[in-house]
């Protein structure tokens, strides 16, 4: 729509300009044909040119009067506003599209970055988990080995202790029983009851004692 109006205005201006050119050429032809007339004729041509110029100027002023200019100005203002609006709209569309694309781009970039980061994080977590599991397994193995070693040592110690106790018991049980008998029977015998046994024992060894007493 605006282009058509501009074409129309330019077409009108071009027609006026061509008309003006045609008037000038016609005037020149007339001047060339009337050279014979002399200085008086030249003077009249100049006057005619001046008259034509004045007419043209008056026509121009008539054609581009104040209302027409105001109309042109209004139209131009409207056209300019429309162009500005359209450009603004295009700019807005472009801007929206750019923003949308930028958003998409940002989303893609951020998603990509986040995916990478998450992947790295997951990888690091997995490695840390594996490392932790390995450490835990190693610790558990060491603890198990220590427990096994401790268990074996304890069993050996218990066995040795048990053997020692048994050995000590075997070595001392006779003394214990003997001690018990001594304690239990210590005051139970008087000499009168033992006398036959004593004399019997001494009788059995009298020869050795006799020889010793003779010395």
């Amino acid at each position: 729509m605006t282009i058509e109006w501009l074409a129309f205005i330019l077409g009108a201006l071009a027609a006026v300009f061509l008309g003006f050119i045609w008037v000038i050429i016609s005037v020149n032809r007339l001047q060339n044909g009337g050279g014979k007339k002399g200085k008086d004729g030249k003077k009249s041509v100049n006057d005619l040119d001046k008259a034509y110029s004045d007419i043209a100027e008056e026509d121009v002023n008539h054609l581009f009067n104040k209302e027409f200019r105001e109309e042109l100005r209004n139209r131009g203002r409207l056209r300019f506003e429309k162009v500005v609006d359209e450009n603004a709209m295009f700019l807005k569309q472009d801007l929206d599209m750019t923003i949308s694309q930028l958003n998409e781009y940002m989303k893609e970039q951020i998603s990509s970055k986040l995916d990478n980061e998450f992947a790295e994080y997951a990888k690091a977590m997995k490695e840390a988990q594996e490392l932790t599991l390995a450490i835990l397994k190693k610790t558990a193995d060491e603890a198990e080995a220590q427990r096994q070693s401790l268990n074996e040592g304890l069993q050996k110690s218990v066995a040795a202790h048990e053997a020692g106790l048994l050995k000590a018991f075997e070595m001392n049980m006779a003394a214990i029983v003997e001690h018990y008998v001594l304690e239990a029977l210590g005051d139970q015998f008087d000499l009168k009851q033992q006398l036959p046994y004593i004399i019997e024992q001494m009788e059995a060894n009298k020869q050795a004692m006799m020889e010793d007493m003779r010395l």
Binding site: M173, E178, G186, F189, I199, M202, M210, D212, L215
Partner: protein
């Protein structure tokens, strides 16, 4: 040891070396007393000596050896023998687990003097850990007839029996 020493008879009541020493001291005291009486009555004609009283042990000794206390020579001879025995009589050390009663000691003394040596003296000791029996020490040897020694001697049997009991016991 001369013949007088060999013929000396120790009464059963005189058991230990301490008894002999006590009897000897008593006899010496009597001898001193008689000597004092003799000195006091030396100038008197027909004076009678007062015989002092004496212990059962000494009287048994005098009786066993047929010695009259008023017989100075016999008394002096007895004293000499007793002094010699005090220093040279064989001593048999007997250690019992409980106190020895006099009757048992008398029997033991009779057996020792009838079997081992007629003039043997006893030394009596007390050791409750013996439990029973007697621990005899002659001048050069030791004979342990105590129940403790008997138990120790039979210790192997006790150990074997206890081991059997332990093996049969539930774990």
């Amino acid at each position: 040891m001369n013949e007088a020493d060999k013929s000396f008879v120790l009464p059963p009541a005189l058991v230990t070396h301490a008894d002999l020493a006590r009897a000897l001291r008593e006899l010496e005291a009597i001898e001193n007393d008689l000597e004092a009486q003799r000195v006091r009555t030396r100038e008197k004609e027909g004076a009678h000596y007062r015989l002092p009283s004496m212990s059962r042990m000494l009287s048994d000794t005098l009786e066993s050896n047929n010695v009259e206390l008023g017989d100075d020579q016999a008394r002096m001879g007895l004293m000499t023998v007793m002094r010699h025995l005090k220093d040279h009589a064989p001593i048999l050390h007997l250690t019992f687990a409980s106190d020895a009663d006099p009757a048992s000691l008398r029997k033991l003394t009779e057996w020792v003097r009838g079997t081992l040596h007629p003039q043997a003296l006893l030394a009596i000791g007390l050791q409750p850990s013996l439990v029973g029996g007697v621990y005899v020490r002659t001048p050069n040897h030791v004979h342990d007839f105590s129940l403790r020694a008997h138990l120790q001697e039979k210790e192997g049997i006790m150990v074997r029996e206890l081991e059997k009991a332990l093996k049969g016991a539930p774990q």
